[in-house]
């Protein structure tokens, strides 16, 4: 008979490198009485979640809970699966049941914070993640959740700041690079953003989202997009204000022709910024696939 421990360790190692399919194959070699053990079920849930098979994550978590009784880690997976399925009320019940057993569990606190944020309860989400940060300030899940909430609040600067900290503490974590990529893109720091997603995609080539985002940033770095850099960098509003102020100033100092020319150039620029990006995106995508 196979001893369960080495199998579980091998499955865990495979998961850590993003090879979820192989981890599932490994778990399938467990003897029948070990399959529903709490740790085996957690690994199964983690593998299925990496493969985006969330309905099965929910089934596995429920089977594990039926076999092992209340277990905060399995309740965490059940909560995540219910949230993915859009049943947020059931998700909340599972996460709160988990928190009743393990009130200081950073994963549970962060998942609950995510759930609250997705329901627009950003203040509660912020308080929950603060609790998690007080327990485990450098846990990747805490960083990731803080970034999500800052982004949802519209605080792009803070989101990018936390991402930088995340990458600094976990330089090998692909999610950290991807989040730095995403938050930099939101602030128009195109090169940092591309670098973030490139590193994330290189560290975990199986993750479609990273490659997708790296591709999107390749679009932003295309030469035809160069004229749009100011808009991406400073945001539409500031760029527009400068242009309008420029036009008004030229007119005020008695140069209506120049003001007209600037206005016309600005109009062309706006049309360009509206029409060109979708075309470049199509072009880059064709070259990519």
């Amino acid at each position: 008979m196979t001893s369960p421990q080495p199998v579980l360790h091998r499955a865990q190692a495979l998961l850590a490198t993003g090879r979820a399919g192989q981890a599932l194959t490994e778990l399938a070699t467990l003897p029948a009485n070990e399959v529903t053990g709490s740790w085996a079920m957690q690994l199964r849930c983690a593998a299925l979640s990496q493969l985006d098979r969330w309905a099965e994550v929910g089934d596995a978590a429920r089977a594990g809970l039926a076999a092992n009784g209340p277990d905060p880690d399995l309740l965490l997976w059940l909560g995540r699966a219910e949230h993915e399925a859009g049943r947020d009320q059931a998700a909340e019940r599972a996460l709160l049941d988990g928190l009743a057993l393990a009130p200081n569990d950073a994963d549970l606190l962060c998942s609950y914070a995510d759930l609250c944020a997705a329901n627009g309860q950003l203040d509660k989400a912020g308080k929950l993640v603060e609790l998690a940060a007080a327990r485990e300030p450098h846990a990747p899940v805490v960083y990731a959740t803080r970034i999500q909430i800052a982004h949802a609040r519209g605080d792009d600067r803070e989101a990018q700041r936390i991402s930088r900290e995340f990458v600094g503490v976990h330089p090998d974590n692909p999610v950290a690079h991807a989040l730095l990529g995403g938050t930099s893109a939101a602030r128009g720091h195109i090169d940092t953003a591309y670098e973030g997603f490139r590193q994330a995609a290189a560290a975990r080539p199986t993750e479609q989202v990273f490659a997708e985002s790296a591709l999107e940033l390749r679009v932003a770095r295309h030469p035809l997009m160069l004229p749009l850099r100011p808009v991406l960098r400073f945001g539409a509003l500031k760029t527009w204000l400068v242009a309008v102020a420029g036009i008004l100033l030229l007119r005020a100092i008695g140069l209506p022709v120049l003001a007209g020319l600037l206005g016309f150039a600005w109009l062309i620029f706006c049309v360009y910024s509206w029409v060109v990006p979708p075309l470049v995106r199509k072009r880059v995508r064709r070259g990519w696939s």
């Binding site: 009320q89 909340e92 329901n119 627009g120 308080k127 509003l237």
Partner: protein
């Protein structure tokens, strides 16, 4: 001490019937179309994002005030380009109101996995349609 944090507050919500537009994108039709275009798209998008009715009314009100301001400029100033510029400025100001109310709900919707819908075609139609409508009214009153 954390009793309040650990008590349930979530109710299941139906997913939005129509995918929202990115509120930042409304800047383009606002620039080209003016305040009424910005407000119209803002109200339509606000309904998609299920923002409170009071905020929808404020956006609609901002659109009317913006158009009123443009009308005033048109009555006071002779030059055509000033009237055009007033349309752009008022459009952008209305867009700022839209953005203030819709940035958060849009990002929360994104957290729920809702993707933005393209604004290119509806944006163009609104900008042209309401831009012309504003121009027509201005031509009538001057």
């Amino acid at each position: 001490m954390n009793d309040e944090l650990f008590s349930p507050t979530i109710r299941d919500q139906a997913p939005p019937a129509k995918r929202p537009w990115r509120p930042e994108s409304i800047v383009y039709p606002a620039f080209f179309g003016g305040p009424l275009a910005a407000a119209t798209l803002g109200v339509l998008n606000g309904r998609r994002l299920a923002v409170p009715t009071q905020q929808l009314l404020l956006i609609a009100g901002a659109g009317l005030v913006g158009f009123g301001a443009r009308l005033t400029v048109a009555l006071l100033v002779e030059s055509n380009s000033a009237v055009r510029l007033a349309g752009t400025v008022c459009g952008i100001l209305v867009w700022l109101v839209v953005l203030a109310f819709q940035r958060r709900p849009f990002r929360v919707a994104q957290l729920r996995g809702v993707d933005a819908k393209s604004l290119v075609v509806p944006g163009l139609l609104t900008a042209i349609g309401l831009g012309l409508f504003e121009a027509l009214i201005l031509a009538l009153v001057r």
